[in-house]
Symmetry: none
Subunit: 229 residues, 2 copies
């Protein structure tokens, strides 16, 4: 029903490796999409907008390094963390890998635990709420671990949907989210609900946020969507 699991895109040409990665990532509760093809990867990124990309260095066709470079030079995708995998261990490669903009670099053979830790580490930057962190904005504190929300020390009562909605806003204060983006993120990619439903929940969130007084921190951007602050 609801989606709060981050999506990982795995780009790896060797099937066995790909399976191990998918299996373990899924077991950790991530939503995994994988491909063995560089071109397809670039298309998938635009389509599914993953929260993080795990990218093999060596690929048939476009190399991983090239994919990374392209992603990092496009503003829409530059923010997505890229974790490079490589069979080589030379220092040169590590440097080159990070030069192209990869956010982290893991040398094969790697410990699965280590890889998971690094994936989580990157996610912590992009999806703080999904990794159980504390978010704060203008006196509003959202603690993902305890599921508690307070405004100016006073506890707020939010339903599950309002909670996820607020988490999304607080991960990037100021960012404007369209109704469709919110439906994707808060409700789930494959669920159909009328986009006006978002309005209603925004309204409910507003009411909850202002329950003890204070300004409405949510901004309506006519024709575009909503934003926090």
């Amino acid at each position: 029903m609801a989606k709060d699991h981050p999506t990982v895109l795995v780009v790896e040409d060797e099937p066995a490796q790909r399976d191990v990665l998918s299996y373990n990532l899924e077991a950790e509760g991530f939503e995994v999409v994988s491909t063995d093809d560089g071109e397809e990867a670039l298309l998938l990124v635009a389509e599914i907008v993953p929260d993080i990309i795990v990218l093999d260095w060596m690929l048939p066709g476009i190399s991983g390094i090239e994919i990374c470079r392209r992603l990092k030079t496009r503003t829409e995708t530059a923010g997505i963390p890229v974790l490079m995998l490589s069979a080589r261990s030379e220092e040169v490669d590590r440097v080159r890998g990070l030069e192209t903009g990869a956010d982290d670099y893991v040398v094969k053979p790697y410990s699965v635990m280590e890889l998971m830790a690094r994936v989580r580490n990157q996610l912590r930057r992009v999806r703080p709420a999904a990794t159980g962190q504390r978010l704060e904005y203008e006196g509003i504190i959202l603690d993902a671990e305890t599921h508690r929300v307070t405004r100016d020390e006073k506890p707020l009562k939010l339903g599950p949907t309002e909670f996820r909605l607020l988490s999304t806003f607080m991960e990037k204060p100021g960012r404007v989210w369209s109704r469709e983006q919110l439906l994707d993120r808060v409700w789930g990619r494959d669920i159909y609900v009328d986009s006006r439903t978002v309005d209603v929940h925004i309204g409910r969130l507003r009411k909850a946020l202002c329950a003890h007084g204070g300004d409405d921190p949510l901004r309506t951007v006519r024709g575009a969507g909503y934003a926090l602050g």
Copy 2:
């Protein structure tokens, strides 16, 4: 020279598998001893007295199942948790595995994270003090060593399941645990138990905690799970 890291004995004949296991277990801070031979395993158990044994089902010479049987029928070794690994997935095997006294059973291919979690899970059973001897929260004191719980000096009567449930909560007061996470930690990953069963035990735990008066310290987080405080 005190040994603060639990020792794991890995019995697995395929070198690649053995290496993966050792690597990941060591990365997790366990002390690992491994062998590919069943006879040697039996000798090693007597020698090093591991805290837990990870045992492959199929071995040249003595089978894993036979090793398990022998260990479980000797009183000195019966208490050591045995985690069975198997490439087969038939129900028959699962049943037979648990019949011989294995404490848990993992089917290949397994998630490394899952395996680690199960190892930790078994260890917790044997060394409840591993995380800390005495937990306290708001007048509730749980002594892992004596298996006793008091609230405001008054002793509480908890069943085994409620005890484990409470110790999970007290490990991280405030943290919200989903029903699935609780099933994992308190029950065990392999057995199918309806997730609603958690509710019932939460209810029982609540009743026990409030037996001598006082507020209900457990918080229900709709759509997410439960938390202490």
